[in-house]
Symmetry: C2
């Protein structure tokens, strides 16, 4: 009780201070109601003079920035944006940011849903007053009118119409992706998903439902097997981590609470590819498969799900043809889809037949002057140097001699590498030290100092460079596999990585650009313009993904082996998880403490199996 | 991080120990699935031999006890029952016990829903294996067949029929009460309730919804006022505490997060009686009303709600007639109703036109041999001594003289007082020291020692005693009103009391009776039988509610003033709340710690305003 009293008093002091700094805030609201006294005065008609909705006309109008979405990208952008320079409006159907890598943990109650969310308004509280948040869904982007059409999720106004329009000067699209069922019949109706916090909560409730259902009398063994068959469709990081969480929940908690039915439980992963986790290094996949086999989790690779009815999953394989299995609960974690609003917008701007919005290297959507797209709903198309080769040559050829000397090349090589990162990547992959080696390769080994190239030789030298353009940023395919040292191994794979880190870095980058927009117009800091007719410098350096390096120094018990772009580590999985939470800039101290306190709760009391 | 690592290691050790003591449990489940290996073997057909559903035929059959409900009464019964003596089956649509006094706190996120629930299976884990839990709702009690009919809430079996029947030797009905709308039109459709954990969660989500809705653009001031008008119908303890919680949530958290709309918020309580909290001492009601007025919470007394449409509440008062007010959210906390299954059962056994089941003083339902009812769904009908007066006289008149001497009366007076507690209550209220005073009153002041009464005089002496029979147990109308010393006062009224404490004590009493049933058949410990033709003693003493005394010694800052049956205390409200949680026998250390940790979270970080 001592601790409690201490906390109580500390908080009282804390609240007392808060009251001193905002004395008017806490009383204003009360006077309205208090004034209407004992009788029934339905509505006091006050607050007419302090209506704050009108913009102040005196100051020079700030540019309007509208941010769509409050996921990793949108939140990261908002956190770093200097909101005093813009009139910022944020529109999202969720008034919170969710730390998505922990979603699989929420499904089994290892972590509470509330611990991994961060209210956006709380985040914005520290910002200036120029930020407005609307809990609504954007259903149409109108680039010609520079406006977005939105619809409130929570209801309509008196006219029965909850739609509204918000105009912008700059639009930041950070809407993320949605579930992709590949139009498989029955998936939407019968499967659970792992995209939103609500999804995880639904799964948690349903897992308990299945156990309670199987505990009822008059349930045959066959039915029990059916009800307690948990099927995960899709062997990507989310599906794999959910399977591991389910297994832990089962072994650590449910076995004790439902001893009569423990023998009927089965977890199955269905994967269409040859291996689970096939986007990662083969060693990781093999390792996870062996672990799962040891834990009794069945992995069915090479099966494509073709139909999900309310009690059967039908799948196809090359060797076995169509097979149907009864199931109790199915979680669909295969495939990422495009949101309808993005689809519609892509059609407007002629980006048809794409999954995500194409942006340039500065994250601006192609052909759209003031629309930026970050995170999962966008991808950067890296310009090929061969498309601009004559402009590049002309720009480098300062004396207009028709040939480039080594000095001329050296003068612009930094800008070239910034603008076309594939040049650097290519040289690295070819183990070349500098541009000289590249040129040498093209013109043959000639005498050193008087090295001179004409346009054809220059083209030849750079002709293979663009092969390095894949998806830029080169996706950091980093997986953490951490194995608990306990007898029943636990596999935790954090998909932190592409999904979250790239999005967060893009949000951060874009916010920095917005913050120094005026400054960079006068003093551009980007590379020389080498495309079309442009001259001078780009305002900003293009976005580049920085590899997540801070996980390296974690010493101690686990032996970390660095693979090219991959990490495999054996150690305390929770330690890794904790570090991933701890290291994320997105996360407040509140979330960090809540997550740790949830883990502590679980360690001491186990997971809660109440059906709420 | 030090703390975290410590916890992690401690837990690992703890889990390690658990594994050692139950080595088979954790592996058994896994082998089944592991055996089916790489291919797709849909279902392993094992576990045939270790099916444990068949009862062992050798031991003498244990009596079957079926418990309906897992509220205060049912859980308390289960906790104290010696489950090794019976075959116990528990049936409830909720697989958890909820600490209901904290429900109003859940509505605003002061405490998390999961912190106030206790999984029943966790509770039963410590008991022998003879306890079975079914998550289902009992929809019919069939006393003639000694069976209950149940329906699963979570689904049906293969035959499409989730109904099942459970037979009993003893039935303990602890189903609680339900909401009573008094058939007011529109209440079921448009109001929120505060009965279940889910209700509280829904309210929490809706409060945030209202604030988000009012923050949208294109919402007029009139609409904002409507949306942010929170109406509580019913000024009982639950309604009052919810209003206080809402007010705190508003002033402490929401005002900072929604500064633009704070002036539009209003909280109104509608109460049909002349005062709120009218079941308590007048001083408490007055005090709460003054507090609420100061806090800006409007209290409309004397208004009866006659209709709730989707945006208007219509109410009637004697002086003003019908008035309609627009509202954003309405919480109905007026009135307690009877569950349909209880209604149906009462009709079967001829207890028509009652709100709750009538039991005798041993908590057995009248006219039902083996059915007991405890908690909110039952009330005890105390037998009147005048109905048994001749039997009592005969029993006391050992020498069959037709008169009773003082000694004869003194020999049985203890049994009389146990059987008819109203005798004692009457003497106390008349300031009589012992039975002599009562007799004296009846026969006039005669000589002391040779005091002798005949049947008429005996009747006369006891004729007024039964006026003390009201509702037994004399409901402990205890209210804790605690006021925070902060500038904006907080009123917390714990309705712990009648609702929870009586139920818990009844559960405990009944469990004790069940535990010593065999023993008391041989050595009855109840009072002498004084009704009908019975002779000898009752097996048990009748149930009597014990006044909750343990709250007295709480010293410190608050000045506690004891009123007859009431407590009014000024001090730290959370301290009281904590003590109420701490003192409850129902509550595990898990819940205690979670509640404290929730409070600590709130003190440090404020309440969470995410809409999940």
């Amino acid at each position: 009780m001592g601790f409690f009293f201490f906390a109580s008093r500390a908080a009282a002091r804390f609240l007392g201070e808060a009251r001193i700094t905002h004395p008017s805030v806490s009383t204003a609201a009360l006077l309205v109601a208090a004034a209407s006294g004992g009788g029934l005065v339905a509505y006091a008609d006050s607050a007419g003079e302090n209506a704050s909705s009108e913009p102040s006309q005196e100051a020079p109008r700030k540019k309007k920035v509208v941010v769509l979405g409050t996921g990793w990208a949108g939140t990261s952008f908002l956190k770093d944006l200097d909101c005093s320079k813009y009139e910022v409006k944020v529109i999202s159907p969720r008034n919170y940011f969710a730390f998505t890598p922990l979603l699989p943990s929420v499904t089994c109650g290892t972590v509470e849903a509330r611990s991994i969310v961060e209210p956006i308004r709380k985040m914005l509280e520290k910002k200036r007053k120029d930020v407005t948040f609307y809990e609504a869904e954007c259903f149409k982007i109108d680039a010609s009118k520079k406006a977005v059409h939105c619809r409130s999720a929570v209801g309509t106004n008196f006219d029965g119409n909850g739609d509204f329009m918000v105009d912008y000067d700059y639009l930041v699209v950070a809407l993320g992706a949605t579930v992709n069922t590949f139009n498989t019949p029955g998936v939407m109706e019968n499967c659970y998903f792992l995209k939103e916090v609500e999804d995880a909560q639904k799964i948690r409730r349903n897992v308990i439902d299945c156990f309670e259902k199987a505990s009822l009398p008059n349930i045959s063994e066959e039915e029990k097997r059916k009800i307690l068959h948990f099927v995960i469709i899709g062997g990507g990081p989310t599906g794999v981590e959910f399977a591991a969480e389910m297994h832990d929940f089962l072994v650590e908690d449910l076995v004790k609470l439902y001893p009569a039915i423990q023998d009927f439980v089965k977890i199955t992963i269905i994967q269409s590819g040859e291996h689970i986790l096939n986007m990662f290094d083969q060693r990781i996949a093999t390792f996870a498969e062996i672990k799962f086999q040891r834990d009794g989790i069945e992995v069915n690779t090479g099966f494509r799900v073709v139909k999900v009815s309310d009690d059967l999953i039908t799948m196809k394989s090359k060797s076995l043809g169509e097979v149907s299995v009864p199931y109790g609960m199915a979680v669909w974690s295969a495939g990422v889809g495009t949101r309808p609003v993005i689809m519609d917008f892509m059609q407007q701007i002629g980006q048809t037949n794409r999954r995500v919005l194409a942006t340039n290297e500065w994250l601006r959507v192609h052909e759209c002057d003031s629309i930026y797209a970050i995170g999962d709903c966008a991808s950067i198309t890296q310009r090929k140097i061969m498309d601009d080769i004559s402009t590049v040559f002309k720009m480098a050829d300062k004396d207009n001699s028709g040939t480039l000397t080594l000095k001329e090349i050296n003068d612009v090589i930094e800008d070239i590498c910034i603008r076309y990162p594939q040049v650097e990547l290519y040289m690295k992959s070819m183990h070349m030290l500098d541009i000289r080696d590249l040129i040498k390769d093209a013109i043959g080994d000639s005498h050193k100092e008087s090295m001179v190239v004409d346009i054809e030789e220059f083209k030849k030298a750079l002709s293979h460079v663009d092969s390095q353009v894949k998806s830029v940023p080169a996706t950091a395919q980093v997986a953490f596999i951490s194995i608990c040292k306990r007898s029943l191994a636990r596999v935790n794979i954090l998909r932190f990585l592409k999904l979250c880190q790239v999005a967060a870095q893009q949000g951060h980058y874009l916010a920095e650009c917005f913050n120094k927009m005026d400054q960079c117009k006068e003093h551009p800091e980007g590379p020389l313009r080498m495309t079309g007719t442009g001259s001078g410098r780009h305002n900003f350096r293009p976005f580049r993904y920085k590899h997540l390096g801070q996980f390296a120094p974690l010493g101690g018990e686990q032996a970390a082996a660095e693979l090219p772009g991959d990490w495999v580590s054996m150690g305390h999985s929770t330690q890794w998880l904790w570090y991933s939470v701890y290291a994320s800039k997105q996360v407040s101290w509140r979330t960090r403490m809540l997550v740790v306190s949830d883990w502590t709760r679980r360690f001491i009391f186990g997971r809660d199996s109440s059906r709420i």
